[in-house]
Amino acid sequence: MNPFQLISKYILGKPNRDEYEALESWKNESEANLEALRQTIRINEVSNDLREYQQVDKKAAWQKVEQRIGAETHIIGFKHWGKIAAVAVLILASIFVIQSGNDVITPEARVYTSTGEQIKLDDGSIIDLDQKSVLTASQSRTVKLSGRAYFDIAPDKTKPFTVEINHGVVTVLGTEFNITTDSLFSQIYVTEGRVKHTYNGEEYILTVGDMLTIIGDKVELTKDQTSQVTSWKSKELNFVNENLHNVMKGIGSFYNVQVEFPAKMNEDDCKINTKYTSETLDQVLKELAVIVRLKYEIIQGKVIIKSFKC
C-alpha cells in the first residue's frame, strides 16, 4: 500500500493495526513525510467548512468598491512623481533655453491598470484595457503593454503610435486593433486600418482581419474575418449556427484561456445558437455540457476537450 493510501486511510478513519504501524514508520522517516501528513489533515479539516461556503462575485464587488473610492486611473507613486517631474521640468527648461528648437520629451510615465473605464490618452487615442493587464505610457504615442488591450488610435501622420509588446513592437498610423501579450504568447488582430509589427528584425504589415500569433520565435499570420477576439471588450459573446470549434475559439479569447481539441477532431458540424454576457467560464462550459454533451477537463488553466456530440 503506498503512503498516500495510508494517509487517506488514517484521515478517513479506518486503518487496521498493520496500516497504522506502516503509516507511523513512514511518518517518522522524514520531515517532508510528516509535513505532507499534516497538510493533508489540514486540507481535510478545512474542507469540512465547505458546507457553509458562500461564492461571491469578486468582479462586481470590485466595481462597487471602485465606484466608492474613485475610479480615475492612478499614477503610480504620485507624490514622488510630482517631485521628480518638477525637478525634471526645471532641468529641461534650462536646457531648452540654451538649445531651443529641440524636442522636449515630457518625463512622465503613467501606469494604467484596468478600471473598467476606457483610457483616453492626451493625443485622443482610446484604449480598452482588460483585467489583469498593465499599460505603461512612457511618452507621447509610445506605450508598453502586458496583457490584453483594444486600441483605437487617433491618426497622426507625422508621429506613429507604437506599442511595445513581449514579442517586438507594433507601429500604427491610425487604426483599431486588439493585442494580447504575455511572456509566452502574443497576438495582434486588426479591425481597422493597417499596423506594422517588428520582431527579431522581421517586419509584418497587417490589415483588416489579419491575425498575427507569436509563440516563442514562431510567428504565424492568419486571416480571421469572423474573429471573436474582441468580444471581451463588448462583454458579449454571440453565436448563431456556429460549430463547436468556433464557439470554443470564441470562448477561449473571451475568457482568455487556451482551448485544446484532440488532434483527430478537425472540424465539426454542430449548430450552436447561444449568447453569453456575464456568465463565468464554468457556467458556459456546463451549459455546453448540456447542449452538445461536451466532456472536458481543465488542467492548469487550459480547457481540454475530451468528447462531444452534435
Partner: protein
C-alpha cells in the same frame, strides 16, 4: 499603498473575508456589504496606516468586529446568543494568523475542486459540500464504498499538490 497593490489585496482576500463575515452573521449579502465597507475605509485612511502594521491582520480583524457589531444591532435568535457569547472573549482582539490562513485555504480548496478529475471531484463535493455519507455517495453514484474512499484519498492528495507549493 498604491491602487495596484490595493486591488491585488482585494482580489486575494475578498472572498475569504466574505466567508468570515458570513460565518458570523449568516447572510451573504450583508457580509459583502460589510467587507466592501471595510475596504473603502482602509483605502480612505491609507495615509494614516502604520507602515509596520500588518494590513492583512487589520482588515480581517475589522471585518470580524464589524460583523459582530452588525449581529448585535440587527441579529435575533439563538444564532446571535451562541456566536456572541463565543466571540465575546476575543472581540477587539486581533484575529489569529491561523484563522486567516484557514479562510484563505477554504477559498483555494473551493476553487481547486473543479480541477479535480470529474468522478473524484464529484465524490469530494458530495461528501464535503453536500455532507453525504460514503454509503449514500456509493449508492447515488452506483459505485462501491471502497471506490468512494479511493476517490476521497485521491482528491485530498491532488488538492494538496495543487494548493501547497512545492518547497
Amino acid at each position: 499603498m498604491d491602487r495596484l497593490i490595493f486591488k491585488q489585496f482585494f482580489e486575494t482576500h475578498y472572498s475569504p473575508l466574505c466567508n468570515l463575515a458570513y460565518r458570523i452573521i449568516g447572510d451573504i449579502d450583508k457580509s459583502e456589504d460589510i467587507v466592501q465597507d471595510v475596504f473603502v475605509k482602509v483605502w480612505n485612511n491609507r495615509d494614516q496606516l502604520d507602515k509596520d502594521r500588518n494590513i492583512k491582520s487589520l482588515v480581517y480583524t475589522m471585518v470580524k468586529n464589524h460583523s459582530l457589531e452588525v449581529l448585535r444591532r440587527d441579529g435575533i435568535g439563538l444564532r446571535v446568543v451562541r456566536i456572541i457569547s463565543k466571540a465575546e472573549e476575543d472581540i477587539q482582539s486581533n484575529i489569529q494568523e491561523e484563522e486567516i490562513e484557514n479562510y484563505k485555504l477554504l477559498d483555494q480548496i473551493y476553487v481547486s475542486i473543479r480541477q479535480l478529475p470529474p468522478k473524484c471531484g464529484e465524490v469530494f463535493t458530495l461528501s464535503k459540500v453536500n455532507g453525504l455519507t460514503y454509503t449514500q455517495i456509493a449508492e447515488r453514484m452506483n459505485i462501491s464504498v471502497k471506490t468512494v474512499e479511493n476517490h476521497m484519498g485521491k482528491a485530498l492528495k491532488l488538492l494538496r499538490e495543487m494548493i501547497i507549493p512545492k518547497p
